[in-house]
């Protein structure tokens, strides 16, 4: 059913008038033109579509628009602050933690949410926290290093 749904998107109010059962992934990509969030599998296996809703990493391919009503949604486009790249983004660049880059937005968003809960993670915790995000190019070990470096920059520690 078409209805108006309001939520916060990357810090700004957003309003969409859509069938609220539609999936957030497609509303972000088409209605709202934020194409940084990617489709990879459509069944929540790969994590390419990961966005943050109220601080939690969610799979936007399995989240309907009505589920984010009045919530705060952050996508890869909203991560860069006034001071430039977010530490996680910066660490991905510095550690060459990407190849084709298609899984990268989902990886970064998942890492971002993970680091909010695990400010000083061990490598094993990072592996566990990232294990459901898939990468085909094989950047895994560098992604782990990048997340460790980002944690260090954000929270000191290890």
């Amino acid at each position: 059913m078409e209805e108006t749904v309001r939520f916060t998107l990357n810090g700004k109010p957003a309003t969409v008038k859509v069938d609220s059962d539609r999936l957030l992934l497609w509303v972000l990509r088409t209605d709202l033109g934020l194409t940084g969030t990617k489709y990879g599998c459509g069944e929540s296996f790969c994590g390419a579509c990961t966005v943050i809703v109220n601080g939690e990493a969610v799979r936007s391919c399995q989240t309907s628009v009505k589920d984010v009503r009045n919530k705060e949604v952050v996508t890869i486009e909203g991560l860069e602050g006034k001071g430039g790249l977010h530490p996680v983004q910066k660490a991905f660049v510095e550690h060459d933690a990407l190849q084709c880059g298609y899984c990268t937005p989902g990886m970064i968003m998942n890492a971002y949410a993970f680091l909010r809960k695990h400010p000083k993670p061990s490598a094993a915790e990072i592996v566990e926290g990232m294990d459901d995000n898939l990468c085909r190019c094989g950047a895994h070990n560098r992604i782990i290093q990048a997340i460790q470096a980002a944690a260090k920059e954000m929270h000191g520690g290890h």
Binding site: L25, R29, T35, C46, I76, L79, V93, L98, G101, R142
Partner: protein
């Protein structure tokens, strides 16, 4: 059936069909340098050859331009799919031209702006294209110095270049920037004579690690892939698919789908699609279509599955072709104390790039513009032109970032689908395959069988080697050991089988053929080493005369801390060697096998590679790591399941690809050989992954695996056989 195989005369066709004048008109002022790929013989050896072009002049296939703003642009039909050439090619050019790398633009994969190129595959960009690009850069620098000499009235011998300007070495105040030299000019040069490129000792940018130039766009979500292209009035198309390859549509009712608001149903023969301005709405409307398909006609392929496929393949194999031989097999067998005969199998494997095949097509009058995720934009252009009945030059293919290819995007059925639907609908159309479609229409790595019969003498020398490969292809089939009597026979020389061979399409998969061949060869070498009671590293060294391969293996053993022991030693250590794309690789792995479940955990993988001159060591290292990581998949889990022409693995829920928790400690070493020409880097380190793990499993538990992937059940079964 061999339409995708390479033809002998293709080298002649490797050139440009475009009108150079039109080209220069659109590109404005500047200094232009046209060049062709120096050694087209590379392209006669390898390559899917989908992008055939007839009767086009063999003129040039890349060019660079120095603009009035001093920026240097390289126009090439190669594409960036993660392998990092947007960085490494720019490094080469910046170094030869003495400009800052930030002043180099790579214009890639746009068929209107870039000259013809066969495609991006075969680890060819650096080794085949790179030397030509460097030569062009060096020639452009020479031209700039000549022009500066005239303008500055300084003899050429006194001029040097640095930072995008020409300086008088005797008086640094006298200088002129490239930008000023290019101003208001339209100069066209062709590279014909050999030009001297820089010596490794003169490199300022090449051979030094450099972070990816596309990283910033990719971490901010700004990088555009084909699916991110949105045009005014564009519709997303979702296409009705058969349940199995070869199934025929007999009845379809689209009435309910047509009632979805804003949905347009299009039918053209077997092509039935729903178009909508939102892809998800198109998808749900598509699910309302009622369709009846007839089973594919009954053939031997209707009853094969992933278990019976090997028997089928052996049954339909064509006559063999000897691709390498020497000595006398019968004589070798007579000298043998032991004869070892084994058969090796590997499954169909999906490319599974994270970005599924996607294309956008816009048609205006008799011209079409295409945005496609493809490894072969010029091939895609031909296919679109043919499908639409347009002239080739009236189709422009633009290649945005490609989200992984691995060989799978040398085929691009989605482009033709989008073109047909754009014409039928009169609107720009995007076709983005779902993951299910990706698994259905992939050109899989072929299942293959390899039979090896060999012997060793009482002294532990290999006495003969009779190697027979069915359907993997020739790449990596000939061995590189010192064996007096040997023969390598390929039954079907490529990754595409004849009619009735495979139940679905097969194609080139990262280092095509070589993964299967190296798995069989290096497993079998290990079996002989164990039979002879000799340490597997030592056994290999005893049978190698190639100095480069010896050095690679010795370095790997040394870096790993290899201590000689007869296998199985219980330590879980394996070794394997390979040659691919001109690069030599030695891998050593350590595994742990869960004796209860048969589950294999890879703890450590070390790879040493000799790839000649390394242009971007950071990039080359990353490619090696990618190879090792991706190789874990086909070694341990990836094997497509199917029943006849129906594919039952349709998403990552059942088709598992490597994930973080699989990752071993990875160590890579590149042997510096800066005076040797650069070799391929995108594929070699993956070819050893099957055997190095199989050999490590044997060393751990004394169980020999003959089939990939080495899933826990198979490991357990092999352990029970003991």
């Amino acid at each position: 059936m061999n339409e995708y195989q390479y033809r002998e005369n293709d080298a002649e066709e490797a050139a440009l069909p475009m009108d150079r004048r039109r080209f220069l008109q659109t590109t404005g002022t500047g200094i232009f340098l046209f060049f062709k790929i120096r050694d087209v013989s590379f392209f006669t050896q390898e390559g899917p050859g989908r992008a055939l072009q007839q009767n086009v002049p063999s003129d040039f296939n890349a060019y660079l331009r120095i603009g009035e703003d001093g920026r240097v642009a390289c126009y090439t039909g190669k594409i960036e799919m993660g392998q990092g050439i947007v960085t490494s090619l720019a490094q080469m050019l910046a170094d030869e031209l003495d400009v800052h790398i930030d002043d180099v633009d790579m214009v890639m994969g746009d068929t209107d702006l870039c000259p013809w190129d066969r495609g991006t595959f075969g680890s060819l960009s650096t080794r085949a294209f790179g030397p030509s690009l460097r030569t062009a850069g060096a020639e452009a620098r020479r031209v700039l110095i000549e022009m500066a000499s005239e303008q500055l009235k300084v003899p050429v011998k006194d001029l040097v270049t640095e930072g995008g300007a020409v300086f008088d070495r005797t008086n640094a105040k006298t200088h002129i920037a490239y930008a000023a030299l290019a101003k208001g000019k339209k100069i066209e040069r062709h590279l014909t004579d050999p030009v001297v490129v820089k010596k490794p000792s003169e490199f300022k940018i090449m051979s030094k690690p450099l972070t990816r130039r596309d990283a910033r766009e990719k971490v901010t979500g700004k990088a555009k892939y084909a699916g991110d292209i949105d045009l005014p009035g564009m519709l997303y198309a979702k296409i009705l698919r058969p349940p199995a390859h070869g199934a025929k549509l007999v009845d379809v009712d689209t009435s309910e789908a047509g009632r979805v608001e804003g949905a347009r149903v299009i039918r053209d023969g077997d092509l039935v699609a729903v178009l909508h301005k939102y892809p998800d709405v198109a998808q749900s409307a598509l699910s309302k279509i009622k369709a009846k398909f007839d089973n594919p006609p009954a053939t031997p392929l209707s009853t094969v599955d992933d278990r019976s496929i090997y028997e089928h393949l052996l049954k339909v194999a064509p006559a063999g072709k000897v691709v390498a031989s020497g000595g006398d097999l019968t004589a070798g067998e007579k000298e043998s104390a032991s004869v070892l005969e084994q058969t090796y199998f590997n499954a169909y494997v999906a490319h599974a790039p994270m970005e599924p095949h996607t294309a956008v097509v816009k048609i205006e009058g008799k011209r079409a513009t295409v945005w496609a995720s493809t490894q072969a934009p010029f091939g895609a252009r031909e296919e679109v032109a043919k499908a639409l009945g347009f002239r080739t030059e009236d189709v422009r293919v633009i290649t945005p970032f490609v989200g992984g290819g691995f060989g799978g995007k040398t085929a691009h059925g989605q482009v033709v689908e989008a073109a047909r639907l754009a014409r039928l609908s009169g609107s720009p159309v995007q076709v983005a395959w779902t993951r299910n479609e990706e698994f259905f229409y992939d050109t899989f790595r072929p299942a293959a069988v390899i039979k090896i019969r060999s012997g060793i003498t009482g002294k532990g020398r290999i006495s003969f080697w009779d190697y027979n490969v069915y359907f993997a292809g020739e790449r990596g089939a000939p061995h590189f050991y010192e064996i007096p009597n040997h023969r390598t026979t390929a039954y079907n020389s490529s990754w595409v089988g004849g009619e009735g061979t495979h139940p679905f399409a097969t194609g080139a998969w990262r280092a095509p053929g070589n993964n299967s061949n190296s798995f069989a060869r290096e497993s079998h070498i290990d079996i002989m080493a164990a039979k002879a009671g000799i340490d597997p590293v030592e056994f290999r060294l005893q049978h190698l005369s190639d100095a480069k391969m010896k050095r690679v293996l010795q370095t790997a053993a040394e870096k790993f801390g290899w201590k000689p022991a007869k296998s199985p030693s219980g330590r879980g250590l394996g070794v394997a060697l390979g040659i691919d794309a001109g690069t030599y690789v030695a891998s050593i792995a350590e595994v742990e096998v869960n004796k209860g479940t048969g589950d294999v955990s890879v703890k450590r993988v070390l790879a040493v590679q000799d790839m000649g001159l390394v242009v971007n060591p950071a990039g080359a290292t990353i490619q090696m790591e990618g190879c090792i990581t991706m190789g874990l998949g086909y070694a341990l889990r990836e094997g497509l399941r199917f029943k006849g022409e129906e594919i039952t693995d349709v998403n990552f829920g059942t088709y598992e690809i490597p994930r973080f928790s699989w990752l071993p400690k990875i160590e890579t070493h590149i042997l510096d050989d800066e005076n040797a020409p650069p070799q391929g880097g995108g594929e070699p380190a993956i070819v050893t992954m099957g055997a190095v793990i199989a050999n490590a499993i044997y060393d751990a538990v004394g169980a020999r695996l003959f089939e990939l992937p080495m899933i826990p059940g198979r490991v357990k079964e092999a352990m029970n056989k003991g």
